[in-house]
């Protein structure tokens, strides 16, 4: 029997079952901590009409941006976009629907989706275009808007290390949206740099318990840097 071993051996297997018009939640911030190879597999599969939920949409030739040329994305829910030309073209022409969501609200919507909380109130966005059509309610004399949670048919996640049971550890700011994304997918697929045996990770240091993870694969990563800023050595 398979027990809790979540490891799959090919990216094809990792993304099996993804079909047109599904909703995918993706971890990552800019190009940092993105599930590079899972995105490539989505491109290879060629599924269309996808709704992507991700803080950003990559650049022209990397990250979620690579799904744009073949018009695979129908709608994106994000906080900050437009770092690439094809994205702008599709958005301006109306081929691509963009639902801009404040970054903290987006993170909380994913967390709520995974945590069985259908909606929550937040002051973020009150009185702005984000509030349009949303319930407003006062608590302690301040106005808040009601935001609904998000779940996906798939969640795609990049972690640093995992044990075979899918317990995950993230590294530095590559953590970002990944832990919430992991909780919010009907099927959560995780790619990592290293897979160890169960028991090798300290239970106190696991960031995402394996219960959220359905499939796990070891990949190699380019980890492209968007803004390479440095100081001179010796300063």
């Amino acid at each position: 029997m398979a027990g809790f071993n979540k490891v799959v051996n090919s990216y094809e297997e990792a993304m099996a079952g993804l079909t047109d018009n599904m909703t995918i939640i993706s971890g990552g911030f800019g190009l940092c901590g993105i599930p590079e190879n899972l995105i490539s597999e989505i491109k290879r599969k060629g599924c269309k009409g996808l709704t992507l939920v991700s803080n950003n949409c990559g650049v022209d030739d990397f990250g979620l941006g690579i799904l744009l040329p073949d018009r695979q994305i129908q709608k994106i829910v994000a906080s900050y976009v437009g770092e690439n030309a094809e994205f702008e073209r599709q958005m301006m022409s109306g081929e691509l629907a963009v639902e801009l969501t404040p970054q903290g609200t987006l993170a909380e919507k994913m967390r709520a989706g995974g945590a069985g909380i259908p909606a929550f109130y937040t002051a973020t966005g009150v009185g702005t275009p984000v509030a349009e059509g949303k319930d407003v309610r006062q608590f302690n004399g301040r106005e808040y808007i009601l935001e609904e949670s998000i779940t996906g048919d798939f969640a795609i996640v990049k972690a640093w290390k995992a044990d075979k049971f899918g317990n995950l550890v993230f590294r530095k700011t590559a953590r970002n949206f990944n832990p919430m994304a992991a909780t919010a997918g009907k099927i959560t697929v995780v790619e990592v740099e290293e897979i160890v045996e169960p028991g090798e990770l300290d239970p106190d240091e696991i960031h995402t318990p394996g219960i959220y993870v359905n499939r796990l694969i070891k990949g190699t990563f380019e980890k492209r840097i968007e803004q390479r800023t440095t100081r001179p050595a010796g300063e």
Partner: protein, 218 residues
């Protein structure tokens, strides 16, 4: 004379206090980190999940897994902590950050701020700005007082879509330090060599001017 970008940052830095957790937006706000007074400790929060942002890395230190909210490679300061985006905005939304500094296109006498979209132009999104302005008690907006064409950015009502409603109490422009209260702008300080008249002329919203308006000290 109007303040330079560095001077704006330098004046903002005087609002820092020892032990402050601070979130600095992109642009001029980022420069504030260069002017932290000697002997004072502040810790920078980056909303992608880092408290205790350090300086830029050397070539050798560059780590693709360690960036700030501007997607720049950074390092961690001693005592830094890493967390996910939900925790990061729990911190921000929950009012745990002591000071937030960010830019804007417009502010108005009711403390409204517009900073993320100009209809008809390409809209890139609000990122974390809406959470930051709604979550922080203590915000300083930095911007130029007027556009290049001399149109005031301190208005009776923001003309652009809002980033936040009734959030802003302090604005530092290249000409003046202004407080917003009870539906009016209040002139606190003027940039060295800038006259009250010039500030009044370039402030579209109602501006309360006290008898004596001190020059900024750095």
């Amino acid at each position: 004379m109007a303040l330079s970008r560095d001077q704006i940052a330098q004046r903002v830095a005087l609002e820092l206090q020892d032990g402050y957790y601070v979130n600095l937006g992109i642009g001029i706000p980022t420069l504030v980190a260069n002017f932290v007074p000697d002997g004072m400790e502040v810790m920078l929060q980056s909303e992608n999940g880092l408290l205790g942002m350090g300086q830029f890395p050397t070539e050798a230190e560059i780590d693709a897994d360690l960036i700030n909210a501007g997607k720049q490679t950074v390092t961690m300061a001693t005592g830094a902590s890493i967390f996910d985006s939900a925790e990061s905005f729990a911190m921000i939304r929950g009012g745990h950050v002591d000071l937030t500094v960010l830019g804007a296109f417009e502010v108005d006498v009711n403390g409204n701020i517009a900073s993320y979209m100009i209809p008809g132009k390409l809209i890139k999104g609000m990122g974390g700005a809406m959470d930051l302005v709604a979550g922080a008690d203590n915000i300083i907006v930095t911007m130029t007082h007027a556009s290049k064409h001399g149109e005031s950015k301190l208005l009776t009502n923001c003309s652009l879509p809002l980033t936040g409603k009734g959030c802003i109490k302090k604005v530092l422009t290249d000409l003046a330090f202004i407080e917003i209260k009870a539906g009016k702008f209040h002139l606190l300080e003027r940039a060295p060599g800038v006259s009250v008249e010039e500030i009044v002329k370039l402030t579209a919203g109602e501006l309360v001017v006290p008898e004596h308006v001190p020059e900024m000290q750095f």
